[in-house]
């Protein structure tokens, strides 16, 4: 393979030339400076020990599920898999029942040889003989969400190398490299926070997600204290910081050295951009550091990003938006507009906006499906040939083959990609992709009056798409109900539905609508039409038996 520069060769070279250099620092309390550090030499040594253990239990190409928390074990197990030629499959660490189900679903789907929930190091050594080929499978990235129908994106060492090089070209700066964050490592953007610094011999600085979620200011404290230049989070994390930080916490921060605050994994809200930039300005946070990005696991992780300059926020005509056109409004006009944040450009991939029904490439200003082509794009889903063909081998009407269909909708405006929504029914909350049928199954199991009937879960935007909307997606569910219960019983049932969904999926329902049997629209083949149901519900046109969908949603 000679000239192929893989992540693995980067790590091995660094371990050989600078064994004392820090590869990973795990921070558990940034206020007090509590952390542990793993050097490249130690990472390499432990990785080889894991590889020796794996070779005793399986063979190269076998899948190894890494159900491990953020920490050294995940890092060494990942490297061990690659040294031994195994396929790493990141998964959530066991915790709540939902997570255990998910690990089981992933392990079953990929026919895993091993599920690691902790790491014991073999006493034997292992000498990685060969460097991987670009087409060798490095990992399966299971997109978050569905337990009923998990699908793993097959990523090769070549995909990883191509994407990391793309991220580095967009956001890298010369000098000491310190990159990190708190996103879980089974999340594609979280994994990038571990691997990106390794690509260039730098240090990954990670915090367990629960440390951030309990005290959001600790993320920013970590960026400051550990001198991190690049850190990523979903929109909600920036919103949480803008809302939660006290004046004293802001006063104690110096964020002037944070060069790339990447916002990705969920739609970037103009309100969040403004609130975060304003709230953290006294801490020296620079508006141009905030970098809205677009990406997806099917293309490793990173597709487009806004690098130099502050984020582009454009007010667009809401009526034209519904007509699939992106029409920028005069910045001072204000009313009837929706504020959209630009997600920049791609230096490493081809990005096109295409009519999802015909495959015809669309001109700038027209909304269509975002199609992607290039070295970061995966070969397909694990063991899903039909679905892989449909998603990964699209052809445009001008005869260009090999495009990935993202399922996301957007348009180009002044050379920049604006993401406007999704062509598929998935819902994104807190950077997690949720699948409506999982939520519908939970709802259906709440009460016998719902059991055999139809329902639709869908996402909607909080305040009717006004210009100052916070942009975060909310979830509502419409479900058919047998019989004619009393209003008080309906209210109690709605409460139980909310509790069940919160317990099973960790998310809140912002609207429960109960309707008569047959009221949920379906196709002739009996499939629930979710977007039609959403339109009817938001228009108040369902004649519900019960609804607590907020008026502002309509």
């Amino acid at each position: 393979m000679g000239t192929f520069h893989s992540l693995l060769s980067a790590v091995r070279d660094r371990a050989a030339t600078h064994p004392e250099a820090a590869a990973l620092t795990v921070v558990t309390d940034p206020d007090a400076g509590v952390h542990r550090t793993l050097s490249y030499g130690e990472l390499d040594r432990r990785g080889r020990a894991v590889a020796a253990g794996l070779c005793a239990t399986g063979k190269p190409g076998d899948r190894v599920v890494l159900a491990l928390p953020t920490g050294e074990d995940f890092a060494t197990a990942l490297l061990g898999c690659w040294y031994a030629g195994f396929v790493a499959v990141p998964a959530p660490p066991p915790g709540r029942p939902g997570e255990i189900d998910r690990i089981g679903a992933i392990a079953e789907d990929c026919a895993a040889a091993v599920v690691l929930t902790d790491v014991s190091l073999s006493t034997m050594d292992f000498q990685p003989a060969m460097r991987p080929a670009a087409e060798d499978i490095a990992l399966l990235q299971y997109t978050s969400g569905s337990t009923g129908d998990p699908h793993g994106v097959v990523l090769t060492h070549g995909n990883l190398a191509h994407n990391l090089a793309g991220i580095w070209t967009a956001f890298g700066r010369p000098g000491t490299v310190r990159i990190g964050g708190w996103l879980p490592l089974y999340h594609d953007m979280g994994l990038a926070m571990l691997l990106m610094p390794w690509w260039v011999g730098g240090t990954s600085i990670l915090m367990p997600p629960s440390v951030f979620l309990r005290r959001p200011h600790r993320w920013l404290r970590m960026v400051d204290r550990y001198d991190i230049q690049i850190s990523a989070g979903p929109d909600f994390a920036y919103a949480l910081c803008a809302r939660q930080l006290t004046d004293a916490q802001v006063d104690g921060l110096d964020l002037s050295r944070w060069t790339a605050a990447i916002s990705g994994a969920e739609p970037v809200s103009a309100a969040t951009v403004a609130a975060f930039t304003h709230r953290l300005a006294p801490a020296g946070f620079r508006p141009e550091a905030l970098s809205p990005c677009y990406g997806l696991a099917e293309s490793t992780v990173y597709v487009t990003g806004a690098g130099a300059g502050p984020p582009t926020v454009r007010a667009v005509d809401a009526a034209a938006l519904a007509d699939r056109r992106l029409v920028a409004l005069d910045p001072v006009a204000g009313t009837g507009g929706r504020a959209l944040v630009g997600c920049g450009t791609s230096g490493h991939l081809e990005v096109r906006v295409v009519d999802p029904d015909t495959g015809r490439p669309l001109a700038a200003g027209h909304i269509g499906e975002i199609w992607i082509r290039g070295g970061s794009v995966a070969g397909g889903y694990w063991n899903r040939p039909a679905r892989s063909r449909a998603v990964f081998t699209a052809v445009t009407t001008d005869g260009e083959p090999g495009w990935l269909r993202s399922g996301d909708l957007g348009a180009m405006l002044d050379g920049e990609l604006f993401v406007t929504g999704r062509a598929k029914d998935t819902i994104v909350v807190y950077g997690r992709t949720l699948y409506p049928h999982d939520i519908e199954a939970t709802v259906r199991a709440t009460a016998p009056q719902l059991a055999t009937l139809f329902g639709a879960a869908f996402g909607f935007h909080g305040s009717g798409g006004d210009i100052d909307s916070t942009g975060g997606e909310r979830i509502a569910v419409v479900h058919e109900l047998q019989g004619r219960p009393e209003p008080a019983d309906l209210r109690a049932l709605a409460g139980r539905i909310r509790s069940r969904v919160a317990a099973a999926h960790g998310v809140a329902l912002h609207g429960v609508v109960l309707v008569r049997p047959g009221a949920v629209p379906r196709t002739t083949s009996g499939k629930v039409r979710r977007s039609a149901t959403r339109d009817l519900a938001l228009a108040g046109a369902l004649s519900p038996l019960y609804t607590d969908l907020p008026e502002t949603a309509r």
Partner: protein, 88 residues
Amino acid sequence: MVQHDSTAVRRWLTTQVARYLDTTADRIAPHTPLAEYGLDSVISLTLCGDIEDHFGVPVEPTLAWDYPTIDAIQRYVLDALRSGATAL
């Protein structure tokens, strides 16, 4: 050590939860599961951190599942304060 009575603890908890859920304290009933008001997993973890910081008692991340109402959380906090448990 600061003395906390049940009314004060309840009032503080209700105010925090109302703020997270963008509502007012009078709309949060002490015996209704907080999940019914829209308390999700992210908000409940933030609440854990706030309780630890405010009362100085350790809180498991599963707090909102183990103690699903304001009333239950209030009893947990008071018990922890009485037993003298302290957070890290």
